[in-house]
Amino acid sequence: MTFEWIQVPYALATLFIILNYGLLMTAVVRKLAARVGGRPGIPVWQNYIDLVKNFALRSKINHGVMYYLGPVFRLSGGIGLILFVPTIYGSSWAQNFSFAGDLVLALYFIFFGTLGMALGAGESGHPHSAIGVSRGLAQVTTAELPMALAVYSLAIQYQTLSITEIVAAQQGGLFNWTLFTNPLAVVAAMFAFVGTMMRSPFDVVLAPQEIPIGPPTEYHSAYLALMQTNRAIFPIAKTIIYMNLFFGGAANWAEFAIKVFLLYMIPAVIGVVHPRFRVEQSIRFFLKWGLPVGILAILTV
């Protein structure tokens, strides 16, 4: 697959859809959580308002170059992740720029935003930012491990690293999904999924109680707006990857919307009913439960 200029507007369109979907869906999820608690909850368009409000802030401060670039890295990471992954299977225009690289690219590009964010937060000079980063990085080392193993077992199963081909291999019926052809890998991957969605019980990174929300402590105004945008996009992007790898991808936007929503609900539900882990607890958790499943996955495939 090669590049034509027409792909640029296509990609932008995809991006636009996903952004709005992300903003609405996160709001809906929060509303659901509120209803569970017997509250009316926020209006579904609240995210848009907050976004506008933050863009409209009048006075801003700046802690230095990396601080300034941090959110840029963050959002670029999210957008890039979307653009490097084909969104809709078989759609002529939602393939984005997936010709640039395969699954490996997607997996490692996830770290792009994290790194930039960490550096930006670091330069703000706030100890809480550094603490949050240290916690987050420490947790991700083991949280991503089952995912890596699952991906490996998947790649061996399908003998390819190209996402498109993996999705293609899952077409033609529910039971061609990896979920059924390679359940162990999916379970392992789900550990990583829940662990990296920044929701309880694994959200000690931005623990609003002990450390006022960690890395973004010093961020505000447009910086914060960019990060909010990313927080709308990035989970969707990750969910898309999981959907493509394990749940047969999506052949049209409706299927996309449903699958992503359901997948997104998994960590949400778990988060609503679980208290928070300390970092070393979650590390042990992943080593004790996630890792063995992952090992089984790569041994049995």
Binding site: V65, V104, L119, H126, L137, T141, L161, Y223
Partner: protein, 1042 residues
Amino acid sequence: MVSPVLIIAIGLGTAFALGLLGSSRKTLQFGATLTALAAMSAISVIWLVALVTGAAQTAEIHTAGAVPPFAINLRVGIAEAALLATVTLTGLFAALSLRAQLLKLGRGGMAVLLVLIMAISGLVMTRDLFNVFVFIELIAIATAGLVLLSEDPRAVCAGFKFLVVGQIIAILLLVGIIFTYHANGSLNIDDIAATPVGVQGAALAMFLLLIALVIELKTFPANGWALDIYTSAHPGFSAVFSAATGSAALFIVDKVVAPAGAEWLPLLTGIGVLSFVASNVVALRQDNDRRLLGYSSVGQLGLVLAVIGQRDVLGEAYLYVAGGLILSHAVAKAGLFWMSAMVRGRNLDDWAAIRARAPMVLAFATFIAMLVGLPPFPGFYAKWDLAQALVAAGRLPVLALILLGVLIEAAYLFRWFGFAIKREAPEKGLSANMVDCGITFAAVIAGWALGWIWGAIPGQHNVLATLPMLAVLAFFALEPLPAKIKNVAAIGALLGWFTLVFGDYDPMRLIFAVVMIPGGAVILLASFTETGRRIGFYPSAMAMYAGLALLLEATTFFEFFAAWEIMTIGSYFLILRGKMSEPHALSYMLFSLGGAFALLAGFALASGGIQPFALNQLGTVGAELAPWVFVLLSIGFMTKTAAMGLHIWLPGAHAEAETDVSPMVSGILLKAGLFGLFLMLMELGRQSLWGVDLTVVLAWIGAISAFLGAVLSIFQEDAKRLLAYSSISQMGYALFGIALMNHLGWLLAMMFVINHYVYKSMLFLAVGGVYKRTHTKLMYQMGGLITLMPFTFVSVLVGIIAMSGVPPLSGFGGRWIFYNAIMDAGLRLPLILIFMAGPVGFLYLFRLIHTIFLGQLKDPHRQLKEAPVWLLVPQMIFVAFLIGFAVLPGMALQKVDGYIGSIFGDQPLVWSGRAIASEFGYWNPVAIMVVIAVIFVSVFLILIAKNHDAQKVKQFNIVFSAERPYRPETTHFAWNFFAPYRKALGFLEAPVVTSFWGGVTDGLNGTAEFTRRFYNGNGQSYAAHVLLFVVAVYLIAMGGVA
């Protein structure tokens, strides 16, 4: 041509003539002595030259006009001549070194010295047993005389002990001679062979002869009597005692045993090896320099004795090996004793005094290298041939013991050298004067000359004659120049060499060559920051680079091994230059030597004694040997790549080295090990031992190193240690890649060779620059340096992005190849560790950049300047390269890919334009770079549009729960950065390996401590030792013979 008898004649004559001179005219007497000695030396040297050049034949001199056995006859062959030269010259120099003493003592002393030298020469030449006895008596008496003549009370009692034991020896010898005469009516050595030794009496006779001569060698444990002499006598004399007497005694043993027949050899071997290992172990605990030298002499003599014991397998190489060892021992020991005459203090660390004089250090280094048997000295060649012969004859245990002994010897000698370089020098610790320096340097020159000669002997590869080594010698000559000029020269030399050679390398060698030679030049740019003359840096550095260059040039085992050793020595001296690096340099040296010996054994095993053996014939090794060769070689190479278990030398060595040395030893030196592994696997391929596939073992080791290296690295507070541990991890990746034994795995390893060189050198230089400014390596003491050191920050940033494998920089290429490589590899379990090592690596990298450059700036650092420009230049070059390499990986990899394809016969990667496709996935670096750049810029523009007017605030303008920060120190979160990680996985940093190696060394020292008790300084017990020794040996030996 003058008759060699004159040597004896002159000696005796002058000795008597001295008596005629009035006792008052000391100077005249001294002059006479010197002249006599000079004459003797002259004669022997003339003979040596004549014999070597073939101008003369081996001469038989019959005294009293009758033929043996009715008269004593002397012989002068090459060996004799060489020894004579050594002896007489030693005597001459000894006389010079002893001048003060001699002038004080007067003619008595001089006469005794003359007689001693004369006797030793006679011992060398004579072919008659009784004559041997006479000369030995003379030697004993003369020695005792010389020792007793000095008024040091300890010397007196030492001399007395010596006499006592000397008499025991004499008696044994005499009895032996009588028996021999009884057994075969002749005292002529050559006749002994004529009669069968099977006769009980003759066997006993021979035993007594040998044991007497062996004890004369002061073999362990029957040597307490002699050691006191080393300690107490004047070093000038000890030199004679160690060099001349010892060599002569060895020679006589050889003379006697030659006719006696092969069944005596095992006895000698046993005694020799025991003596060698044991006295080296004891020497470990000595703190008096002369006593240490004494033990070392005993050890060396033991070694040669063992070699004599191997004469049956050595064949015609026998003279070469034994001679090499004896001569290097004689020269080095004499030299060291003469140096110790100049050092005032008697403790090992008093030798720090010599640091003031660079030539002295050179001399010291030369002698130690000669003793340990490092190139380019004769001992090295001898060791190599010895190993070949031993393995060929299947005498591996002997080889193992000898190598062990050498390792221990290296341990205390290099520890001593470390003291000399690193400990603080005592006031006026050095009493240097023209004469002593003169004779010392005569020894140095003799050493190098011998090195040349031993190399030049046909059938050998002369290490010194190679261009790189000549360059090194040239840099010795350049030392007086200022550092900057030498730096230009060094860079020129490296680039010049590269232009000479790169034409005829295959792509893989070429990559290594580029990393090692021009790569070294780039790092040398950083050395322009150094001012002054920087004595000692350039020879060492160039020695290392010469080793690397020769390593790539090597075609035979020997060349490879020599290059390896040279590289090791050079890097050792480099590392030793660091401020706190004394212990680390030592452990580096020991591990390297251990690895080198593993290589030596492996090569010998592979070649089976055939010399020279080409590297590319490694594949032809027999199937039953191949696995063992594999094991030995990979141990050797993995010591260099610091694989887990053999890694403990690395962190200290790399962290404590100088700013511009760390990148050399980390970025470049480690690659030598990888190069070796490549060669080995290319030739040997997969091997399995007891059904275990050894490459799988390698893969596991690689994975474990990759993981544990990373984990250990995140717990470091010292920036350079952090980087050092990360090197272990990175080399682990490379090792894993190689061990995958498939095309992409090797490509991955090559990628790591390039990437690791670039970003590790870059990071070490950056951290070094920070260290230059902040004077600390502890990260938590820094912070907020980003605005003060922007360039350094940029290079660290690029470095860690590349290293962590995040797109778009070149590290990602490595990861991509890695995934494709593991797809068709059978290994799965080790992957778990590798997968985990990735994110863990991310941890320590972030810590590195955060705690140094981000966070809170500290009071004392507020006005720091950016790192020196010459440190930045190479960094910026690296940054540019990393980005270029990220966009166009093909420029370096495509050729290598093709080459590896020619090895494995497959071609998994398709290079179409800028895009790369494998059978599993695809990778388009340009597209990635462009997409990311476009997104990044557009988002950045949005932010600028909104926040261009943001108010720039200072470091304490942070929300602090409505309080304000107290001090930057209390606000910077840096120390123990990953505390939760330590809570969860801290158990992984338990120092298991370190404690293991610590246990080994403690064990050795314990043994030494125990053994030295045995030397209680009491003459009677020493005599008892001797007798017990004789009896014990008798029981063992005759049990074997009869």
